[in-house]
């Protein structure tokens, strides 16, 4: 039985002085499973992804990614675990400007457990699969669509068990949203990675077999 990509137990997180808190008694994402996390803007979807990625300290509970307790890790150990087990895709891609497409993928690989000798083959193959013909082009010279492909390639480069996609289509029109989601989901399937994707776009629901609502994970005052 494959290890689940994500198990959250009794998670509680709140910002200082906030009147509400994230409260997740149990959330499990199986290996390779695609889950959509829905809810309106500002409801805490991004915060939950950041807590899962270990970028915010949870108040209580546990977060287990690919069998590894992220919440018990500290400092460099947590950073290393994130680099190896989690890929992240952002609404604005967050590529490294001034670097090539290839180097952006290398940036994810340099913190992974993959031997350096394999980096180039892995990065070029991934970029080629995702339709980037000129891997040595500066990302600033690529189209928005190509930049998104580079961002997806970077998220999958280290062969993570879990990909966290934070509103990846929020700034796209419906046509490009379809294209982008096709790309993200097909790439995750091809790599065997689980996907936890957030969106406030109702049209996304049709793409996912499993949908979770952030509203069910909020405790405390109304937001």
């Amino acid at each position: 039985m494959p290890v689940p990509a994500l198990i959250i137990r009794d998670l509680r997180f709140s910002y200082p002085d906030a009147s509400w808190a994230l409260s997740v008694p149990h959330l499990q994402v199986e290996a390779g499973e695609h889950v959509l996390l829905v809810g309106g803007s500002g409801r805490g979807k991004s915060t939950l992804l950041q807590v899962v990625a270990g970028l915010r300290e949870l108040g209580s509970g546990s977060v287990e990614v690919a069998g590894m307790r992220m919440d018990t890790l500290r400092g460099a150990a947590r950073d290393e675990a994130r680099g190896r087990s989690i890929g992240m895709i952002f609404q604005t891609f967050n590529l490294l400007h001034g670097f090539t497409a290839l180097e952006n993928v290398f940036a994810a690989l340099m913190f992974s457990s993959m031997p350096a000798a394999e980096h180039e083959h892995r990065a070029r193959t991934l970029l080629s699969t995702l339709g980037i013909a000129d891997a040595d082009a500066d990302v600033d010279r690529l189209s928005v669509g190509q930049q998104q492909r580079v961002a997806v390639a970077r998220a999958l480069a280290a062969r993570p068990a879990l990909v966290l996609a934070d509103e990846p289509t929020a700034s796209l029109d419906p046509e490009n949203t379809e294209t982008a989601m096709d790309l993200i989901q097909s790439a995750c399937r091809a790599e065997g990675a689980a996907l936890l994707c957030t969106s406030h776009d109702p049209s996304m629901r049709a793409r996912f077999a499993r949908i979770e609502s952030i509203d069910a994970m909020i405790a405390g005052g109304a937001r």
């Binding site: 970028l55 460099a76 950073d79 604005t92 967050n94 913190f111 980096h119 040595d136």
Partner: protein
Amino acid sequence: MSAKTLTDWQIVMRSLRARPLSTWITIGMVATSVALLLVLFGMRTAARGAFDRGSGNIHLLVSADPSPLVAVLNGIFYANAPSKPIAWSKYQSIRSAFPYQWAIPTQQGDSYRGSPTMATSTDFFSKFEPVAGEPWKLASGKFFERPFEIVLGAAAAKASGLRLGQEVFLTHGSGASREGSEPDEHAGHVHTEFPFKVVGVLEPTGSAHDRALFIDLESSWILHAFDRRERAGISGATTAADLEDDDRKITGILLRLPTRAGSDASAAMQQQFDTLRRDTAIVVAQPAQQIQKLFEIVSNVDGIFIGMAVVVLISSSLSTMLALYNSMAARTRQIAVLRVLGASQGRVFGLVLTESLVITMAGALSGIVLALLGGIAASAWLKASIGLVIDPTLDPRSTVIVLGGAVALGGIAGILPAWRAYQVPVADNLRPAA
């Protein structure tokens, strides 16, 4: 050829190249301050070397100047003509009182177009070495052998343009009056009655002697005897036969004491120094000691210059810190992305610290090259223009100290920006820009 992977070093270099103006200006500032420090250290060493040259293989210098330091400045560096003479009889009594290796009489006071003249014996060229271990060498001609022959120091020859066989007239006194001009009682007067024939030009020695012209003692005495006879209303030619005891005066004695074979030091130095000091009519100086004293006097000024250069180096480090610190504001997203990808806080701290060290190292190495090239150019110019020999190579110890200091300061300068990078809140910097 494209990269096979990405390394921390490539990230550092890419980051520096992303803001070329700031990077190059900061490197330039570090380079300038390092070069300035090295040049000042080099000048101090070169000045010391230039002062050490000139006293050569002298153990003691006797004169009638007011102090030993003045005696050295006048007798070896031609600062001024000694004001008080020493009688020839005093020279003879000193020479006969101790078995010196040699005792060379010198007389200063005359000049040629502002260049000082030293009247001395032929021992000056055969026994005295202007730089220990480096005897006089002739560029052309020969040393003087008889009265009214003159030998030119390298710089004096270059400045005057005189050539072998030409005749010159010396000026009584150190003024700069020119041949053919009216006598100037303040500047001295030109002895047109006594032409001196240029018989030799010396190779440069890198010492003050290069600025001087050398004649034999008897010639100088005859000039003064002529003046005495003229004041007494005696006309006609003046020759050696007209010299009186009062004409036979000198202004200095260069002494070398007996030494053991292979050694420059003399066991009799202190005893003989004390013996000569008892004579209140003269002063006796150990040139090396007086040069050390001179450097102690000027060390405060020297220290101020070095201090200023250190301040400039610190300023350039502050510039490095500010340039990096200010760049952090534009790089928080990049740092946050690297953190998301798995970079630890320590690794990000190291990347920024490395940037500071790279800037400082590049600046320091450029500064060393700048100082070296400047030193070579300055050395060539000084040798060509005034015959001053200065070693253009950088003192390895000073270079290592300056390089180490610059890199240490660069490391310190990088700590604050690196700390800022260390503390970048990752989640807050991944949000879409407003």
